[in-house]
């Protein structure tokens, strides 16, 4: 697989179809893999493909200049679909080297997202590496942690989030690592008006995380990078999953599936959207 991958990447670079290929190289800490940028065929020799290639490289396509080739797992392709849907890049400017993937690991454990994977073979790609893998319906409940919190009382929920988010140091790794957080200026960085004060305390942290998750509604494809990147091990996935669940239930939309579809938040349904349930 890796030989095939390297060959295809080299071909793209030597034929000048792309200016850079974004892939993985061996990391230097534990057995991590690390993002790698190949500008020449020689650089491609650094590339690896293994269980540790967990990073979602789609984050780099909105930063890269020129035509980009990108090694993408099924889940990463979902992010790319989202980015194209939102007109951040043109489909023609990216060559997707899709990889048939049967799961990646974080610190030797299967990544959470892989338990519910429905895209072992990416939805769209220009080149496919490896043989297509059929996706099976997962028997596990994707929204188990969400339901656990929903079942608490409002006071318990408040306490849970207050405790959980009090750990946050606002390093914004969750924001920086997210392929869909591409805004030039984040709401939390503006000073006039200053939506969220800079002080790190439970209240400000909660407001930040509420709005961060809210901004991801109908856009988050569940790659789990925010949670992986968080140095304080905050379960940020739960917030994003809650939003995804609500979007599915209320608007019948799943992000990262259809490149032609309008994200739910940029769309409406005159007759069927919830109305009387919560609006007087």
């Amino acid at each position: 697989m890796i030989e095939d991958l390297k060959e295809k990447a080299k071909e793209l670079l030597t034929s000048k179809k792309v200016d850079v290929v974004i892939g993985y190289e061996a990391g230097t800490y534990k057995d991590y893999a690390s993002p790698s940028f190949a500008k020449t065929a020689k650089d491609v020799d650094r590339f690896v493909w293994n269980k540790n290639c967990v990073n979602n490289l789609a984050i780099y396509i909105t930063k890269a200049k020129g035509k980009v080739g990108i090694i993408a797992k099924g889940c990463d392709v979902k992010s790319i679909i989202g980015i194209i849907q939102e007109n951040q890049i043109n489909r023609e400017d990216v060559v997707i080297i899709g990889i048939a993937c049967d799961g990646v690991e974080i610190d030797g454990e299967k990544a959470d997202k892989c338990n519910f994977c429905d895209v072992h073979t990416p939805k769209i790609y220009d080149i496919l590496i490896g043989d297509k893998i059929e996706s099976k319906e997962s028997s596990q409940d994707k929204y188990k942690e969400v339901a656990e919190i929903e079942n608490k009382s409002p006071e318990e929920r408040w306490k849970y989030w207050k405790d959980t988010l009090s750990k946050c140091i606002r390093c914004y790794a969750c924001r920086q690592v997210c392929p869909l957080c591409y805004c030039d200026k984040c709401f939390v960085d503006t000073t006039v008006p200053q939506w969220i004060p800079m002080s790190v305390n439970e209240d400000n942290n909660m407001m930040f995380h509420m709005i961060r998750a809210y901004h991801m509604a109908s856009r988050c494809i569940g790659c789990g990078e925010c949670q992986r990147a968080c140095p304080m091990n905050i379960p940020l996935n739960i917030l994003s999953k809650k939003m995804t669940k609500e979007v599915e239930e209320m608007f019948g939309y799943t992000p990262g599936v259809d490149i032609e579809a309008k994200p739910a938040i940029q769309d409406f349904n005159k007759k069927e959207d919830p109305d009387k349930e919560f609006i007087m």
Partner: protein, 137 residues
């Protein structure tokens, strides 16, 4: 708590709800004075951050967001987008553990002065029951 008088921020669209509130006034309808109104061009303009920002302020106990009825938007579709945003905001606030009723939504047209008075009465009564809002302070 009997003498608790909540302060409520009303975020109203210029074309319907603001006119509705105006009509309530010119019709000399009585309704609780606990609400402070901020006018915005359209309910579609209401950023969830407005709601969050309200709660950071000293003494604010609730927020009411109101716009034109679906189909009546001055900008044709603004309130349809707003409706989806509010639906999600509502779920988000609930999920974080903020009591139901702190943030309320309504459609009030320019002719519904009486409805406006009723909506405010209900919101004030709900928030009186919940008591002062001490989160995010």
């Amino acid at each position: 708590m009997a003498d608790f008088e909540p302060k409520i921020v009303g975020i109203l669209c210029n074309w319907c709800s603001y006119a509705g509130a105006d009509l309530a006034g010119t019709s000399r309808l009585k309704y609780p004075e606990n609400i402070r109104i901020i006018k915005v061009p359209c309910s579609g303009r209401v950023n969830p951050l407005f709601i969050i920002k309200c709660f950071q302020q000293e003494g604010i106990d609730g927020v009411l967001v109101s716009g034109c009825h679906p189909g009546d938007c001055h900008y044709t579709t603004g309130n349809y987008y707003a409706r989806r945003k509010f639906a999600l905001m509502n779920k988000m606030l609930d999920f974080m553990g903020i009591e139901k009723g702190r943030v309320q939504f309504s459609w009030v047209s320019g002719g519904e002065g009486a409805k406006w008075a009723k909506v405010v009465e209900k919101v004030v009564a709900d928030i009186k029951k919940l008591g002062p809002f001490t989160k995010f302070k």
